[in-house]
Subunit: 293 residues, 6 copies
Amino acid sequence: MTNKTQTLYKSYIIEEYFATKKPYYVSISDEIELFEAAYKQKLPVLFKGPTGCGKTRFIEYMAYKIGQEMKKSKKNNNSQINIPLVTIACHEDLTASDLVGRYLLEGDSTVWLDGPLTRAVKAGGICYLDEVVEARKDTTVIIHPLTDHRRILPVEKKGELLEAADGFLLVLSYNPGYQSALKDLKHSTRQRFIAIEFDYPSVEKETEIIAHESGLDDGTSNKLAILGEKIRNLKEHGLPEGASTRLLIYAAKMISQGIKPVRACQVAVNWAVTDDSLLHQGIQEVITSIFPE
Amino acid sequence: MTNKTQTLYKSYIIEEYFATKKPYYVSISDEIELFEAAYKQKLPVLFKGPTGCGKTRFIEYMAYKIGQEMKKSKKNNNSQINIPLVTIACHEDLTASDLVGRYLLEGDSTVWLDGPLTRAVKAGGICYLDEVVEARKDTTVIIHPLTDHRRILPVEKKGELLEAADGFLLVLSYNPGYQSALKDLKHSTRQRFIAIEFDYPSVEKETEIIAHESGLDDGTSNKLAILGEKIRNLKEHGLPEGASTRLLIYAAKMISQGIKPVRACQVAVNWAVTDDSLLHQGIQEVITSIFPE
Amino acid sequence: MTNKTQTLYKSYIIEEYFATKKPYYVSISDEIELFEAAYKQKLPVLFKGPTGCGKTRFIEYMAYKIGQEMKKSKKNNNSQINIPLVTIACHEDLTASDLVGRYLLEGDSTVWLDGPLTRAVKAGGICYLDEVVEARKDTTVIIHPLTDHRRILPVEKKGELLEAADGFLLVLSYNPGYQSALKDLKHSTRQRFIAIEFDYPSVEKETEIIAHESGLDDGTSNKLAILGEKIRNLKEHGLPEGASTRLLIYAAKMISQGIKPVRACQVAVNWAVTDDSLLHQGIQEVITSIFPE
Amino acid sequence: MTNKTQTLYKSYIIEEYFATKKPYYVSISDEIELFEAAYKQKLPVLFKGPTGCGKTRFIEYMAYKIGQEMKKSKKNNNSQINIPLVTIACHEDLTASDLVGRYLLEGDSTVWLDGPLTRAVKAGGICYLDEVVEARKDTTVIIHPLTDHRRILPVEKKGELLEAADGFLLVLSYNPGYQSALKDLKHSTRQRFIAIEFDYPSVEKETEIIAHESGLDDGTSNKLAILGEKIRNLKEHGLPEGASTRLLIYAAKMISQGIKPVRACQVAVNWAVTDDSLLHQGIQEVITSIFPE
Amino acid sequence: MTNKTQTLYKSYIIEEYFATKKPYYVSISDEIELFEAAYKQKLPVLFKGPTGCGKTRFIEYMAYKIGQEMKKSKKNNNSQINIPLVTIACHEDLTASDLVGRYLLEGDSTVWLDGPLTRAVKAGGICYLDEVVEARKDTTVIIHPLTDHRRILPVEKKGELLEAADGFLLVLSYNPGYQSALKDLKHSTRQRFIAIEFDYPSVEKETEIIAHESGLDDGTSNKLAILGEKIRNLKEHGLPEGASTRLLIYAAKMISQGIKPVRACQVAVNWAVTDDSLLHQGIQEVITSIFPE
Amino acid sequence: MTNKTQTLYKSYIIEEYFATKKPYYVSISDEIELFEAAYKQKLPVLFKGPTGCGKTRFIEYMAYKIGQEMKKSKKNNNSQINIPLVTIACHEDLTASDLVGRYLLEGDSTVWLDGPLTRAVKAGGICYLDEVVEARKDTTVIIHPLTDHRRILPVEKKGELLEAADGFLLVLSYNPGYQSALKDLKHSTRQRFIAIEFDYPSVEKETEIIAHESGLDDGTSNKLAILGEKIRNLKEHGLPEGASTRLLIYAAKMISQGIKPVRACQVAVNWAVTDDSLLHQGIQEVITSIFPE
């Protein structure tokens, strides 16, 4: 059985994983121009915004777009030229070694293994630290010398300094909505980045996104977008975070499988968003007002 | 003696452990259709519900059922086609390495050992993270890229990304009833799943389950189901969690061994459910009202 | 000197340590029947009760008794058939690896060493986790799949699942008297066990036990049993836990060495039970009322 | 220089370090008889009492005395028969492995190294755990099976159980005076020991001890003993712990070096006992009233 | 692809990384004279001041300047003579071993690797510990013997003491503005350093810096400097830290890419400085008053 | 470059680092006689006093002085006879292993490396534990058996006991001024030491010290000593700790480099002592009153 399973999945080297076709992204404001200006000036960027509003998709789109423009500007068609995008989901136990690298014992000698940040620094890629405030403090400090004029990464376990390759850029994301005081970004870190704020798309744009991603008709997609907007307005009634575009797409996909809209919205949106039974009731009323049975 | 004991137990490779016959499961609502729709759309699923109401049994049943349907749709009788079900009981010390894998020293070289999540990703199985809020934060973050359109698992210690095999699906369970604020599921995690809520079965269904599992007669099984329902109503009187179906089956099994019903219910239900002597008294009164001596 | 000391002690393989003669145990209620019913139905058991009331002695007795009955039922005299009893004293630093096993470097290769729980699972023995609430959470979670219908132990570091041998049973003990809220047994754990509550023996039975264990005469043993009962009644006056049967036996043994009863009770009971000088005075008055000088 | 320094110190195997002459000990009460009775009955012993009142000296004395009596009773003069005394100063980071033993890499294979508790269990010695409440909980639990009728030490990393050699006895010390609630001895531990309470010696006995240990004349030694008694009475005025006999001996030794008594008592007693300047003043007044200049 | 990426970045030995041209630095006060006096007297120096006010740039400038003067005074043109500057970004997980060094397994033997502090001590360089209060306490204590007359670094894992090379100097930075009481510099540490306080430059000097660093015209640079001053005055209105010179340069660079000044200041200054929507409004009003559209 | 840097610094074995000339020390009271008496009687010593008042210098002076006297008393001129002084700066992460020693892997076998305390015990030197309350509890307990009549160091990882060489003495320092209740010295530790309290020198002595150490004239040195005294009196106005003699010497050295006295005192004393702007103002007024411009 081992032989068979080996063909079921694909494996990539981290810095060699590229989008092979243009990622679908609907721009909300001038975020594309801002990012391009920052990239040209090598200014590190901080994305702020709620869960599931498209930050990850945006950085994928920009990595692809800048890579394409570099190809054009070089007037050749070498399809190998790409901007590697190295994404790191931060968490409480992420250490500096996880980012920079470590020694591993292999056979009878130790071998150094570059961490994902070092890979991005060497390959001249974009390094995207998702939810950076979750990381341990050593992680946020290790990136400081990469964000000033020196663009240097100290690899202390090897006694080395690395000067980042030309295309390298550091991008952080964080969600100011649910940060506790304990987990705030330190000023000595945040004042090293320009900041782009993201929000949910308008109903029109969200309709377009839902229909595109789920293959559902425009009418039902529009109802789901309106549902999203109404639930986000419930935030003042105790809902900690509104329904993301992702959840609306989930509901659309369930509907496209034959689940009734009211039930699809209940499991994909209402129950996914909260455990509170009073809020459940309120949201379900909103759902049935949009999808009367 | 070592020789003899080696024949007393059985050992399996994690991703090769399948149910060999159809697991017994009595459906409560439309959860089977919902799960099948989600599985076809590759939408990650979150199970919510109290202890011992059948979530684990349900996922075993679905893994078996989907596997059977895949066999039929392929119009052959290759009995090898199954959906591996990899179950991971989460706890406070479960690390990302426990899930993804680690290097082990073997002989004079190091060997990589895939963790259970990696095994499920490669084998295209269902990975069931039981009581996920108990896990450390790095564990909940490592699953994020597996739940978006990329379906990718970063194996950072090997510098690799794995694209999940086709049949892979991530399923989480959690019990919103006794979560503290500290151990809540983060929105950036929960908004990646559709949610199915579970509750205890009705008295009729529970009677059927108890009788089937214990071999006890329907009449006594029905009395135990009624007992279960009454104890769950005591929740407002300070009982933190109602008696699970599992405990009612335990009582039935003790009765089938000749223990008197009142005593069987005392040890299998009353003492198992709480240490509080006032509650003990109240529950025992309910028991004797149902099983008068 | 090394040669000589090697003969002073005995060493056993954990799962091959059996009681060679019937352990002395005086039954309090129907606990023997309850345990036998649970063992036949493979229902995990939870012992609740105060310090030193005989829980450990009971499990030793049952392991011996069930082993003897299995011999008889098999109608042969193979004295090798026994139920191994693997006892694990839980503590705050007990990890899942301590229970399940770990890799050890031996010579130039690593060797897997089964932990005590794995030994019991393989040998089909009773695994007794003493004071389970003291253990870390990963320890209590690792036992979950062993307590449902699958009776499985995941040995994740080897990528294996073990199906428990036929005679295997999991037994936990805990003392609800002095658990803090922080160290309570989770419902998802406790609702996997039937529960047997233990209490101190009656004065008559305790007299019998003290006399048997210490060799002291019945009259003095009876006075000590009365002392025990009176001190346990002081619990409402601030004594956190009453004097165990064990301490009364200690006092009896000191008396049998020629120490005066009043002094023997002071050092073996009064000073052992508390550091509070007011309680010391009160208890000493009880002692002198029973043993007037 | 390395050669020379190698001759400056002595090195012993832990369980082969014996007192070569009778330790000096002045008995306070019937503690010698109590300990001998407990040793004969193999009852574990707990010493309670303040800092520096002679608990450590007492256990050394008893180990020597019991060893001498065993020689006599065996009617030969084999001077090798001794009771090893293994003393372990407990602290917050003392783990079960520190007591029981661990594997060490030596050359190209791993070698097991017995910890001090295992050494005492094997050699049949007295194991003295000083200030046991300081130890981590796993340490206090590991000793439980050594204190009941089985007298067993589980060496889990080797999969072994050791039955203690005949002369083995476990002795704990602790100081109830400054234990916080957090660091109390658990009842499941303390109810496994008889308890002997110690206090400072009387002025007469302390005079004798000071004179013997320092070589100072009886008159000045008596003044120091009186000083000790008076300072201990200051405990109600905020002094957390009285001056130990050890500090009075220090003062005597400083005086014997020609330091004036008032100054010697200031540095060896007053400043050693507290940092509080008000208490300094009060104690210094006591000193000058006893040693007027 | 590996071959190509190897040419994209540069790698240096830590203590051999020197500024190759004079770092741009505009002096604020007499900090250059103070530092030169301290360096000649081998007095360790502490920099105090807010985020992004130029402390890092200043120490780079001084390392370059002192190196140049040493070359002149030696009357030769050996361009190799430089003062190595070893910068260490401190964080909560920085241990003494990270600074001093550790053993690494290489092939079949262990090799000692000097940490960055040891490298500076040996090479006679300036060791700059940035944000020292973030470091663990062992880190701050390890530097004590380097700051007194002995100028010694204990390398305890090698059993060695290192006497620092002649040019060695220790420099710390810290930001008293946002230190909590828990993370204060201990007096036993701080009283080993002379302290130089830094503040933001005047509007005139900041204009000069912004224009030089961004290439923007003087008029717009001056407006940005005025903006910086005004935002710093908002500190009394709840802004935890003012905008750094670095952020003003970022805004200038965004403007030079064609982004409108108001928008450039919003993303590079306003959103970068705070997440508070009220403060966002206030700052945006300041921005539009300076850059009316 | 590596070749050249190897000649810039000096390296010593820890226990072979001796002062080669008499350390400069001005005695404050009878501390020299007290220490000599304690050393002859082998009584462990505790130094109490504020930061920078000369405790470290004093212990260096005594090690040199006692070494010199031992040479004389032996009536030969073997210049090799010295008292090694092993200084250990204690910190929160200092473990018992750091003091006693550990196994290191070297080539294909493990080698034991003595820690600094073991080195002092073997070489018969003075072991000086600076700021001992900062150390972890295991560190303070490991020294107990070295301070009683046995003078023994248990090296548990080797299963050995070391009896200290003749000249060995344990000396601790701590600063009672800023100890929190959590970090107090336990009575079971402190009652093992005689205590010598240190304070700042008188103005006359401090003038002498400043002039000697900095080479500055007596008049200005005297002004600095007066400044020190006045700042120490500010302690009642909220200054947590007075200016140390070391800082006054720093100011003197800055003045000798041509920095104006007022500015030198500002950076070397005022800013070094506190971050509080009100205290800055008050201290600066004291400075200008002594050094009017």
